[in-house]
Amino acid sequence: MKRFIALCVLLTLLGCGGKDDGKRLNVYIWTNYITQELLSQFTAQTGIRVKFDVYDSNEAVLEKLASGASDYDIVVPTDYMVRILVKQGLLVPLDRSKLTNLANITPKFRDLPFDPGNRHSVPYLWGTTGFAYNKAKVGKALDSWVAVFDERWKGRVLMLDDMRECFGVALRVLGYSANSTNVSELAAARDLLVKQKPLVKTYNSSDFAGILRSGDVWIAHGYNGELAKACDEDKNLAYVIPKEGCTVWVDNLCIPKSARHVEAAHAFINYMLEGKNIGAVVNAMSYACANDAARPFIKPALLADPTRYPDEAALKRCNLLGDLGESLQLRDRYWTEVKAK
């Protein structure tokens, strides 16, 4: 028994101990957003050891950083969340002198409205939030959000478990802006979502592609990258940017104010700006990157795929989510009502 306890204590010391020499990095990132190989290579190159945790909503990032109790050095928030985090003073300005690969960023992704001059953020991956469906089961071509409200697909629809995205869909179908703060428009969207609820098999933000592929649902609201992978594996599946338009989003590498390894965080951002590295993420995760130097490293089939890299016409229909300010509370209340019904 004594020896057992001694062993355990030793184990604990080995686990917890180890001095903090600045050669560490805590990364908080979306599920399915980076590969272990890249992290291992980064460690091999720089000697910086990386730990990473995953989340599946932007609000999780805000909550962790705002709690003041987090210890992350890199977070990867979406556009509108970058704006909120900056307003809240939760991010540190980036030191551009340490980011020698900044020039690799595609010009049209620089200086976006949510972070003028890229003072606090560097684009990582971008994509759209549309839906994918099973052509064989549905039996016809779909091109509108109306499909997810269609009684015929009762019990065969999956929606993201995400307040912003679900309200976005309902508002667009009603002909309003996805960023509406108008009370009566939001109430109408809520009523539509309540009406939709019996059709929804499940709300899920983590496994939408897997559930679609398994056949449990026929229509799945979700992010394009994972849905594109599902479409590659099953030719019956197709991804749609609906005619009403959808969310386009840009996820960004940022350094929280509470970061303790700012130096290492800059090294990591610069590493991920290298075309070869971010190209490897694109190949593995199927989302698009905003990096010109990556193009030679990305499989040509992916670059040519309109699901991953939509054409300008499709992108015209899409827009970024905005910061809703105080109106967020009303949406949350309405969202709770949808979920409570």
Binding site: G15, C16, T31, V54, A69, D207
Partner: protein, 251 residues
């Protein structure tokens, strides 16, 4: 009739576990149709660094929480069974609180505390949380064990010239050992299994096995989860069996 109902309930209790174990050896990935036997999912599992890391974290938390909570809880159990002191009733109520307050409330309250005192979330906060919710279990188990305990043995030891520490180590501890062990085992199991509270207080890199399993379950049903579940089952059942043997051999 009664017998039949009883067997049906046992089938209900064990069928899901059996299914889980059997299908961890199935080569078919997508559906629950048996193809043929394979150990592939276990191989995948042993190569998975994230799971390895989560197992180490869970062991660290489990062992630390068990050691600290068992020592403190045993002391409390002794005090409650042996002594009259001011605030004893209040102490009993306090000990029942962690058992009855819903876990979600405990988790949310703890993260509020850590935020309030600006303590960074880490593996340490997980360990603290686990100690907090498990002391009660040890104290209550040890106290129950001491309830039917013969004081004359201790008094005899002291009359024979043993001092308090000797009496404690040589007489009291061996007598309450089964209770202490049962409490420790309970703490370890609770700690290894806790998801709700841990999900609130875990910091960077402090992903424990339940957090890891939860995120795997959320991102899709796969045979790897069957395999990790099976291993977890083997370990917990092994632990209980070991504790049972230890207790019976003591008697």
């Amino acid at each position: 009739m009664l017998r039949a109902v009883t067997w049906v309930v046992y089938a209900f209790l064990y069928a899901p576990i059996a299914v889980l174990v059997v299908f961890s050896f199935n080569s078919e990935r997508q559906t629950a149709i048996w193809k043929h036997f394979t150990l592939d999912w276990y191989r995948v599992l042993f190569r998975d660094e994230l799971i390895g890391h989560a197992v180490v974290n869970s062991l660290i938390v489990g062992v630390m929480a068990t050691v600290v909570a068992t020592v403190i809880g045993t002391m409390a159990g002794l005090a409650l069974a042996r002594h009259e002191f001011r605030g004893k009733r209040a102490t009993m109520s306090l000990l029942y609180l962690p058992v009855i307050v819903p876990e979600i409330v405990v988790g949310a309250a703890l993260v509020s505390l850590f935020g309030f005192i600006a303590m960074r979330l880490s593996l340490t906060t997980v360990i603290l949380a686990h100690i907090a919710f498990s002391i009660s279990y040890v104290a209550l188990v040890v106290r129950a064990r001491l309830a039917g305990f013969d004081r004359s043995l201790e008094e005899a030891a002291m009359d024979l010239g043993a001092n308090r520490w000797q009496t404690f180590w040589r007489v009291t501890l061996p007598l309450i050992a089964p209770g202490v062990l049962a409490g420790a085992l309970l703490v370890f199991t609770l700690s290894i299994d806790d998801y709700i509270i841990t999900s609130f207080v875990a910091g960077p890199g402090a992903t424990t096995l339940p957090l890891q399993i939860y995120s795997m379950v959320k991102t899709g049903v796969t045979p790897e989860i069957n395999a990790v579940s099976t291993l977890l089952l083997v370990v917990t059942i092994g632990l209980i069996a070991a504790a049972q043997r230890l207790e019976t051999s003591k008697r």
